[in-house]
């Protein structure tokens, strides 16, 4: 008799994650799970804790409390493995202005253990996929914000991560590039990559996500699959949550 195959752990699992910033709770007791191939839209008004949450998932910030597991392993105990599993595009896509586009990809690849022919192949693939071929010798410091955003995305995708963490990826992209980004996200999700996408654009979420989470004042207020005709319902839910505190009578 064959033994039942053990279920693979979720790509991302947050348990009781809390983080204070400037003396106030930025994220409070956050529980979240993300499976392979899922695209989660993380919504919230400014200061809701989205970027803090994503920075903690990416390992750039330590949680004050709670655990973050990537593919079943605590990322604090296995930081190098976490680096292999995860690709992160922070808000405003930071770059080293004195390095070229190609040098960015080489540096990111080497930091994640890619080398030689594998590194070149991976670099060529993302340059072609993100239409950066013509810019590969250009310094990052002279790129437009939209081009920097695409470079950041290329760096995040270079090592084919199992989890893609994107903070406002459509910032500064023109409408054509936004549509291309949506196609790319659907493509990587279809290939099994879990995506967590923070945005202010509800339309962005309804276009590419299959699940929505809404953060408000650091706590998770909503976490549901997105329905086929969900834009209006999502908009109502979002504004109900976002305006709840303001609408209460004094």
């Amino acid at each position: 008799m064959n033994a039942p195959k053990p279920a693979s752990p979720p790509v991302l699992k947050l348990e009781g994650v809390s983080r204070q910033r400037a003396g106030r709770p930025a994220v409070h007791q956050l529980n979240l799970t993300l499976e392979a191939g899922q695209v989660l839209g993380l919504l919230g008004i400014n200061g809701a804790g989205k970027s803090t949450t994503l920075a903690m998932i990416a390992g750039a910030l330590l949680p004050d409390e709670g655990t973050i597991e990537l593919q079943g392993k605590d990322f604090q105990e296995y930081p190098e493995q976490a680096g292999q599993v995860l690709g992160w595009l922070p808000e405003s896509a930071p770059t080293w202005p004195e390095l070229t586009v190609r040098e960015h990809l080489d540096a990111h690849g080497r930091l994640r253990g890619l080398k030689g022919a594998d590194l070149k192949r991976a670099g060529d693939a993302v340059l072609a996929r993100l239409e950066l071929n013509d810019l590969q010798r250009r310094l990052a410091g002279v790129l437009s914000q939209g081009q920097r955003q695409r470079l950041g995305l290329a760096c995040a995708l270079l090592h084919r991560p199992a989890l893609l963490v994107l903070d406002e990826p459509a910032n500064a992209l023109d409408p054509v590039q936004v549509v291309a980004l949506r196609g790319l996200l659907r493509e990587v999700a279809a290939a099994g990559t879990a995506v967590i996408l923070s945005t202010h654009q509800l339309g962005e979420v309804t276009a590419v996500c299959d699940r929505v989470a809404i953060l408000h004042e650091g706590t998770l207020r909503y976490d549901q699959p997105l329905h086929a005709n969900g834009h209006t319902a999502l908009e109502k839910t979002f504004f109900d949550i976002a305006l709840a505190g303001r609408m209460q009578p004094a």
Partner: protein
């Protein structure tokens, strides 16, 4: 090895920034001019010097003052007090300001690896700079008698001095939000550590804690050709303290946010 990936990235950044080339070239030009003065002095006094039993030779008159301020101010070691803070100021302070430090953390690197990786890159740059500076007087080796033992000791002493200054510069960069603040802080700390015993020396005190603390005490011994474990240990201790402080501050970035 990801540590070497950080070193490679930092070296690339050092070599493509004009600042590194400009300060390196200006410093070498000053050292070239200094070499010409010292060589002229040596040639003018060569006959007299040759008549002194065990008198100073080319190594003592030309090479040692090129590395440390024995006869003229602004030798390599003194220039390094200014150059190293300028070289290291952007290493961590600007990465923090630009948000790229987070990218290094997201690739799974610990603060120790990031810091040591960057430190190795600065050391490589400084070693090349030292090698180019030494190439000027050593190029005369065919026509002059070089004291290779003394030269090796002086080179080691100068390299260890540069290594301490690099560790201090990087630590100051880790503690600063802005590159300019990092450079100013590193300059103050380095100059203080270099000549903290100046008052004691003027008062005729040649021993004690204050003299032990000063970097120049240990460097001067090596400039005279004396390599002792006490001096080497001092340099290694100073490097270790600066690295530990810098790594601790960098690691706390993830906690502070």
């Amino acid at each position: 090895m990801t540590l070497l990936a950080v070193t490679r990235l930092e070296l690339r950044r050092l070599f493509v920034r004009p600042l590194g080339w400009i300060i390196g070239a200006l410093a070498l030009a000053e050292l070239g001019w200094r070499f010409a003065l010292l060589l002229q002095f040596f040639l003018m006094n060569q006959v007299q010097l040759a008549s002194i039993p065990d008198g100073p030779g080319y190594t003592d008159i030309v090479i040692m003052p090129l590395l440390s301020s024995i006869a003229l101010p602004f030798a390599l070691a003194e220039l390094a007090l200014l150059i190293v803070p300028l070289l290291t100021m952007s290493s961590l302070a600007s990465e923090r300001a630009a948000g790229t430090l987070g990218l290094l953390y997201a690739s799974g690197l610990s603060a120790t690896r990031i810091f040591i990786g960057k430190y190795l890159a600065v050391l490589v740059w400084l070693a090349l700079w030292l090698a180019l500076a030494l190439a000027i007087p050593v190029s005369m080796a065919q026509g002059a008698h070089l004291d290779w033992g003394k030269l090796a000791a002086a080179t080691l002493g100068t390299f260890l001095t540069l290594a301490v200054l690099a560790a201090i510069g990087l630590a100051c960069s880790a503690f600063s939000q802005h590159p300019a603040a990092s450079a100013a802080l590193a300059l103050i700390v380095s100059v203080t550590l270099y000549c903290v015993n100046l008052g004691a020396q003027h008062a005729g005190v040649d021993s004690g804690f204050i003299n032990w603390l000063a970097m120049s005490t240990h460097q001067d011994n090596m400039m005279r050709g004396l390599v002792s474990s006490v001096d080497v240990s001092w340099f290694l201790l100073a490097i270790a303290v600066a690295l530990a402080l810098g790594i601790h501050r960098l690691a706390s970035d993830k906690e502070r946010g």
